[in-house]
């Protein structure tokens, strides 16, 4: 099945909300999704744009989305896919705009992480796509292996492999970050 996510049973800790209201869903999910998109793109403006795209898609097919057992998984799948494909294109365009117009993101408008964490997320983004997605969903969203497998439409063993390889790769490219004191 190519669209297994739409019909899976929800994880035990996710209640089914047949009367889910879009505005509530938007408000509840917004900041978490921006964080997810930021982790995957490294740019707040692009992240917010990707999130807006994802919510627009949800809004347009809301009656269908509310029929899903797990709308939260659906929109995360939409978002991580957008971040991988269109996000990279937008990042390129954002750099072009910056170059052409010497455009500067106001400091208060950007997400400012400690250097250590900023470098970690940058390294995550440099991982192969699936590894980066699995790492981000696991650590940023605190999702279980099963939940990540549902979102990414891969097997649980595959998720475990992506996580293991991702962490190993991070340790290779950031050996000095191997401990919290590093």
């Amino acid at each position: 099945m190519q669209r297994r996510i739409l019909h899976d049973s929800p994880p035990d800790d996710v209640p089914v909300r047949a009367n889910l209201v879009f505005d509530d869903f938007y408000t509840q999910q917004y900041s978490r999704l921006v964080g997810l998109a930021y982790a995957l793109t490294g740019n707040r403006m692009v992240a917010e744009d990707m999130v807006h795209d994802a919510f627009t898609e949800a809004h347009r097919r809301w009656s269908e989305v509310t029929g899903y057992d797990y709308p939260e998984a659906w929109i995360r799948r939409v978002l991580v896919n957008k971040c991988h494909s269109r996000g990279r294109r937008l990042m390129s365009e954002a750099r072009m705009i910056t170059k052409v117009r010497a455009r500067r993101v106001e400091p208060e408008a950007d997400i400012r992480l400690p250097d250590r964490s900023s470098a970690v997320w940058e390294a995550v983004r440099a991982l192969p796509k699936r590894q980066a997605q699995a790492i981000t969903l696991h650590y940023w969203e605190d999702l279980t292996i099963a939940q990540i497998a549902t979102i990414l439409e891969v097997g649980e063993e595959s998720v475990k492999t992506h996580l293991k390889r991702g962490r190993a790769k991070l340790s290779e490219i950031m050996p000095e970050r191997g401990t919290l004191d590093g």
């Binding site: 938007y26 900041s31 964080g35 930021y38 692009v46 052409v100 997400i111 340790s171």
Partner: protein
């Protein structure tokens, strides 16, 4: 678990501190899909204005489960010696309940009564009393005398148009027609009666990018879009709604058609795609009849998908804003590659005689003595102006094109400068026989409002499609009403 587990949790916590208190802005959904032309404009706007909100937004309106079935036996070859050759195999495919197609003969144009270039035409002001009366009714174009029938009945504020010329509105036999209702989706019509048949669920990387099967009348193909790009090609039987994964291109992370402005030639069995691999984008072709896949070496960023320019898949054109890349069946440059257009190309379609496929390009801006519509012979590289300033107007504006491959006939619309009486060749529906003696037929004025107050600019552009049997030219317009854009048919056999 290794030490990096703690590092990642700490990094997540730092990010949480920064984002947990973000206030969601008021949500306003973006308007939906735009075509590749508009996407090109959006890129320019992005570069100039730094606006992030103008981009193609593609919807997954599909609500049918995808059934993964075995694709036809597939052979993947590469066009370079340094690329990896891959072969995938499977057993035969069941094409589903489809009808075999008999390709039509060359278009029987019999337009002796039509207005041709040079014929005097008195252009009159449009009045409400001189507009079509409604769906299904026939109407005589007051200035040109052609018979026009209203095909669709869009709601107030709605837009139903032929698909943009990157795809063929008619199937190769002319038995089926796909129109697009802005914000709603694609709709299937009977190509003979122009009666509506059913709504479709086409979820592609661009609503204007799908390809008809060359011999099975009801099958179309498009790259899957299920919340994001994928490497799957979907087959949809438009008569039954049955869909399946026709092919999964394991050699590609994702497939698509880029931001190409080129059309898909009618009657070809070879789709052109862009295949994104780890190192970047590659041209790719997929033969719907044989399952053969050809993947080129890495291409420059910004290249568009190759467009099949001959039914047998031996010639392709990859079209950018200013050049036409001409490629052979192995996706290698031909001696004519590249053909420099020398102006901003606004729309392109592939067609013309089989022996000399043409790339037909509409130009805008500073055309440097180029005409409005130029035909580039992809075999010889020759260029001919089909429509230019000598045809009577210095301000034709840009246009849309649609054509059929074997007949050598192109239908075009030009934009109007305003909604008044206008000037010759402004806001007109044209039919151009690209034969040795170029013949231009003027079929009527579309009277499209210059700037509709609903939808968006892309929806305010008249689209046009040419029936491969030569019975109709479809075009979209609001006829100046400003209330709804509908599809109309010029009846060529009247």
């Amino acid at each position: 678990m290794d030490d990096f587990d703690d590092v990642l949790r700490s990094a997540a916590q730092d990010l949480r501190v920064e984002t947990d208190n973000l206030t969601p802005p008021e949500f306003t959904p973006r308007s939906s899909s735009v075509g590749p032309f508009a996407a090109g404009i959006a890129v320019a706007v992005l570069a100039i204005a730094g606006v992030f909100g103008l981009r193609t937004l593609l919807q997954d309106g599909g609500n049918e489960d995808l059934e993964a079935v075995a694709p036809p036996e597939t052979t993947i070859t590469t066009s370079t010696t340094n690329a990896t050759s891959t072969t995938g195999t499977s057993d035969g495919a069941d094409g589903g309940p489809v009808s075999e197609l008999t390709l039509p003969p060359p278009m029987p144009l019999d337009l002796q009564n039509a207005v041709q270039h040079g014929d005097p035409v008195a252009l009159t002001e449009t009045t409400s009393s001189s507009l079509p009366a409604g769906p299904g009714t026939e109407w005589t174009e007051p200035d040109f005398g052609t018979s026009i029938v209203q095909v669709t009945d869009a709601p107030v504020g709605g837009t139903i148009t032929p698909v943009y010329s990157t795809s063929q509105t008619f199937n190769p036999s002319g038995s089926l027609v796909i129109l697009y209702q802005q914000g709603e989706g694609h709709e299937l019509y009977d190509g003979n009666t122009l009666a509506p048949l059913r709504e479709l669920s086409i979820v592609s990387d661009d609503v204007y990018n799908f390809s008809w099967h060359p011999t099975q009348e009801s099958l179309i193909y498009f790259s899957d879009w299920d919340g994001g790009e994928s490497n799957r090609l979907i087959e949809l039987d438009v008569r039954t709604g049955a869909r399946r994964v026709a092919e999964t291109f394991e050699a590609c992370d994702r497939i698509g058609q880029g931001r190409g402005i080129g059309s898909t030639a009618n009657g070809t069995g070879v789709m052109g795609l862009l295949c994104t691999q780890a190192d970047g984008e590659h041209w790719m072709t997929y033969n719907l009849l044989t399952g053969e896949v050809v993947i080129s070496e890495l291409v420059d960023q910004g290249e568009t998908a190759p467009t099949s320019a001959s039914p047998d898949g031996t010639l392709f054109a990859a079209i950018t804003d200013t050049a036409i890349r001409v490629l052979d069946g192995d996706l290698q440059p031909t001696p004519q590659d590249p053909i420099i257009v020398r102006a901003d190309a606004q729309a392109v379609t592939i067609g013309g005689a089989d022996a000399h496929p043409l790339a037909l390009v509409t130009l805008t801006g500073d055309r440097e003595s180029n005409g409005l519509v130029i035909a580039f012979d992809l075999v010889t590289g020759d260029r001919r102006s089909l429509l230019d300033d000598s045809t009577g107007s210095q301000a034709v504006g840009n246009g849309q094109l649609s054509t059929t491959l074997s007949a050598g006939v192109v239908a075009a619309v030009t934009r109007a400068a305003d909604s008044g009486a206008g000037a010759p060749y402004q806001g007109e529906i044209l039919l151009v026989d690209t034969g040795p003696d170029v013949t231009i037929y003027r079929l009527g004025r579309h009277r499209m409002s210059f700037d509709l107050g609903f939808g968006f600019e892309w929806g305010s552009t008249p689209f046009i499609a040419l029936d491969p049997l030569g019975r109709y030219v479809l075009f979209s317009t609001d006829f100046g009403s400003g209330t709804a854009v509908n599809t109309f048919a010029v009846q060529l056999d009247r």
